[in-house]
């Protein structure tokens, strides 16, 4: 059965390692923070200028001066630090953020990503996404395997304007975990009860399948 968005977040959380500095994009990526494994200490970065992002505030303690990059009210934690936007993207560019998780509209088998613009529609802008994908060492995309029209979002080549090239390392969708290798998409895991054939049929590019593909574990 296909995963819901919470389960996608939960699966991605398993990629976290102790000591990681992590930037979580808007949408499903934000949910990853709810599933950080016990014993694993990670520090969340918000690119508007905060390391050590805490949970949402309790009612009445929210502050207009303390928001995350999604413009939600948040809190700090002991040992948080606040800095300006240049330092924030400075640490992103210099590779200090161990893992970036973000959503996408399309990902190509070369690791190209498109997630900011649909021609003909109002364009809101790339925000910090182009900086993040150009710099992060380890990028995981969280998205549905297909779009609402049922078309694969994993493609030989992106059709939409790119956000970055050659950068995505792994994709976690509602039906599969896919690694991007030098030879293209490689299936690592499948959602419980979802067959390899279904994943292949929903992937508009070659999918490398080696041996038997395990079901995801949570």
């Amino acid at each position: 059965m296909a995963l819901n968005k919470f389960q996608i977040a939960q699966r991605i959380a398993k990629e976290l390692q102790d000591g990681f500095y992590v930037n979580l994009g808007i949408g499903i990526p934000t949910l990853v923070a709810n599933y950080i494994p016990l014993g694993i200490d990670v520090v969340l970065q918000s690119e508007n200028g905060l390391l050590g992002m805490g949970p949402f505030p309790i009612e009445g303690e929210e502050s207009a001066d303390l928001i995350n990059a999604g413009k939600q009210t948040i809190t700090t934690l002991p040992a948080s630090s606040i800095f300006d936007s240049a330092m924030s993207f400075g640490m992103i560019r210099s590779g200090k953020i161990n893992l970036t998780v973000l959503g996408a509209m399309e990902v190509s088998e070369h690791g190209d990503i498109a997630n900011w613009k649909i021609p003909g529609k109002m364009v809101k802008g790339m925000g910090g996404a182009m900086d993040l994908v150009a710099s992060a060492k380890n990028i995981i995309v969280a998205m549905m395997h297909t779009n609402p029209a049922g078309e694969s979002k994993l493609l030989k080549k992106c059709s939409l304007p790119l956000t970055g090239t050659n950068c995505v390392k792994k994709i976690v969708t509602d039906i599969a975990v896919v690694e991007i290798t030098a030879s293209g998409f490689k299936l690592l895991e499948r959602a419980p009860g979802v067959s390899v054939e279904e994943i292949m049929s929903k992937t508009a590019a070659n999918l490398i399948v080696e041996g038997s593909i395990p079901e995801m574990k949570f």
């Binding site: 949402f56 413009k71 400075g90 790339m126 925000g127 182009m130 956000t163 050659n166």
Partner: protein, 231 residues
């Protein structure tokens, strides 16, 4: 050396039609509310505004858009704003979208006297069109130029009469970067303190970068997305 201005009207009085303004803030967080109100009142037109976002329909830079004061918007993320979209689609408003880190670093470059910087953001995308691409250590970078703005308008938490500023929490964002980057920098502060009250070790913007300062009033500090947890 008087940097102290009476209020926002006084501080923005010489801003002219057609000039380039930087405005601090991220979303509605840390925006120069008083100066925006004064600019709307002053009805100055054809402005180019450099700011990470463009406000919402009835707050922030959105108020200037309503009065059709903005000719060009340079931002990384816009369109929480119906009037913005209308003007964009009708061709009344020109928009240049640039990556957020590029925006921040181009401000810093100005303040640090660096005419250009290199960033990998946008390589291989339409952002790279027409720009110089240069390879360092096997990785491609775009050369991006420092900004050239007539005025930088920022909002700080506290400031003294010499123009030293400190910001609160994530209301810092672009403010200290833009403060460094204006030919003339105007700072509005929630609290104006006496010289000596701010610890020299913890000044975010040294006064040398600030030309005008005034105590702002009636801050609304609107929250864009109030998110809370159960106790």
């Amino acid at each position: 050396m008087n940097k102290l201005y009476k209020n926002a009207d006084d501080a923005v009085k010489d801003i002219q039609d057609g000039q380039i303004l930087m405005l601090g803030g991220f979303g509605l967080c840390g925006i120069p509310e008083n100066c925006i109100t004064a600019l709307v009142k002053k009805a100055v037109k054809n402005l180019t505004c450099i700011s990470n976002n463009a406000g919402v329909d009835d707050f922030g830079i959105g108020l200037m858009l309503q009065q059709k004061q903005v000719k060009k918007m340079i931002a990384s993320y816009v369109g929480e704003n119906a009037e913005f979209e209308r003007q964009l689609l009708s061709g009344e408003l020109e928009v240049e979208l640039i990556p957020q880190g590029t925006l921040a670093t181009r401000c810093m470059a100005t303040g640090y006297g660096m005419p250009a910087i290199f960033t990998p953001a946008g390589v291989g995308t339409e952002v790279a069109v027409g720009k110089e691409v240069r390879n360092f250590n096997g990785k491609d970078y775009l050369m991006e130029y420092a900004f050239d703005a007539d005025y930088a308008i920022v909002k700080a938490w506290k400031g003294d009469k010499q123009g030293n500023l400190i910001y609160k929490d994530t209301a810092r964002n672009f403010n200290p970067l833009m403060a460094m980057a204006g030919k003339i920098t105007i700072a509005e502060v929630e609290e104006l303190v006496e010289d000596g009250e701010l610890d020299p070790n913890f000044i975010h913007t040294p006064g040398v970068y600030v030309h005008r300062i005034f105590k702002g009033e009636n801050y609304e500090k609107r929250i864009e997305q109030k998110t809370i947890r159960k106790s």
